[in-house]
């Protein structure tokens, strides 16, 4: 089972598609969740997910707005998509019947 931040990273990478790389994923996570994501947290998680075979990474092209430096591109593998789906479904199952307005089970 993957963790919450791992799920956020995989989901952001899937949403970005071919444009998924470090800075774009950080921006996506910050925009959607409202929480900032440090470079340290991002790249250590990227490495962990890659070791687990949940994502693939490779060095992309360099662009002028990056000071001529290359991007680390990220792609979610079928195994990664499956792990993210399992996490999502477990959260759904766990939340079923919970009334957040009253803080009780309906």
């Amino acid at each position: 089972m993957i963790g919450e931040f791992e799920y956020a990273l995989i989901t952001a990478a899937v949403r970005l598609g071919d444009a998924a790389y470090g800075a774009a994923i950080r921006e996506e996570i910050a925009e959607v969740t409202g929480r900032t994501c440090s470079i340290g947290a991002l790249y250590t998680t990227v490495d962990r997910l890659q070791t687990k075979g949940l994502i693939e990474t490779w060095m992309g092209e360099a662009t002028p707005q990056r000071g001529g430096r290359a991007k680390r591109m990220i792609r979610v593998t079928p195994k990664g998509a499956q792990a993210a789906r399992a996490f999502y479904e477990s959260v759904l199952r766990l939340s079923r019947g919970v009334a957040w307005e009253t803080g009780s089970v309906s």
Binding site: I39, G40, T44, A70
Partner: protein, 238 residues
């Protein structure tokens, strides 16, 4: 370029080249230059270091080998220096016509064992903890500096304590270059070191430091490149 940007560039040298490229690019793109960039780079480096220590290998190399072995090898270096000094004195006696046993074989045996223990220990430290080898080196050097400062034997130079360092450094270097040695070489080395240390087993209590210094040699045997006859020809089958 401001000092903060310079420091960020210097700190980024701590990262792997490809990761440095991606991280510096991300910082430029996100407009996080200056001190924030510096803290981001240092934060990533710190996380990487912490990640390395979630494995047992750096702990074994640093606290199970480098630290205790440096104390033991300093003691043994002193013993070898003392044996050398006695051999020189006996040699002088012989020159004056007094017939005394040489003690050369004991000196040679101790010197070989010292080099072997230091080399195998260094090799294991280098091969087991490549990326944390600087911590092991610091833990090994700290006792050396402590003992150098407090060394009070007038007949011997304080640098006698460091006799083990050249073979140990050589071993670390080889350990970083090659992960394991050939099985035959490792077995001969381990057997020779164990056999040469047998005479000292008679001394009460010395078998513990002996085995504390001998296990790296047997670790090399356990992790050596096994020949085909030992693996049952598995390599051929593959």
């Amino acid at each position: 370029m401001g000092i903060d940007c310079r420091l960020t560039l210097i700190a980024s040298k701590l990262l792997q080249p490809l990761e440095r490229e991606a991280v510096l690019g991300d910082l430029v793109e996100a407009g996080e230059s200056g001190w924030r960039g510096l803290f981001a780079v240092l934060g990533l480096w710190m996380r990487r270091q912490v990640d390395l220590w979630t494995n047992w290998r750096p702990w074994l190399a640093a606290f199970g080998l480098a630290l205790p072995a440096s104390f033991l090898l300093m003691g043994f270096s002193l013993s070898v220096s003392h044996a050398y000094q006695q051999w020189i004195r006996l040699g002088l006696f012989r020159l004056t016509g007094i017939s005394v046993g040489s003690g050369f074989s004991l000196l040679l045996c101790n010197a070989v064992v010292l080099c072997g223990w230091a080399w195998t220990g260094g090799f294991v430290v280098g091969s087991v903890s490549r990326r944390t080898v600087w911590v092991s080196a610091a833990l090994s050097l700290a006792p050396c500096l402590f003992c150098l400062e407090r060394f009070r034997v007038e007949s011997l130079s304080r640098f006698c304590l460091l006799l083990f360092l050249p073979p140990a450094v050589w071993g670390v270097r080889r350990g970083l270059q090659i992960a394991c040695v050939r099985f035959g070489a490792a077995l001969v080395l381990a057997a020779a070191l164990t056999a040469l240390s047998i005479p000292s087993w008679s001394s009460k209590g010395s078998w513990i430091p002996n085995w504390a210094l001998s296990w790296p040699a047997w670790y090399l045997v356990a992790t050596a490149q096994k020949p085909d006859w030992l693996t049952g020809g598995q390599r051929d089958a593959k």
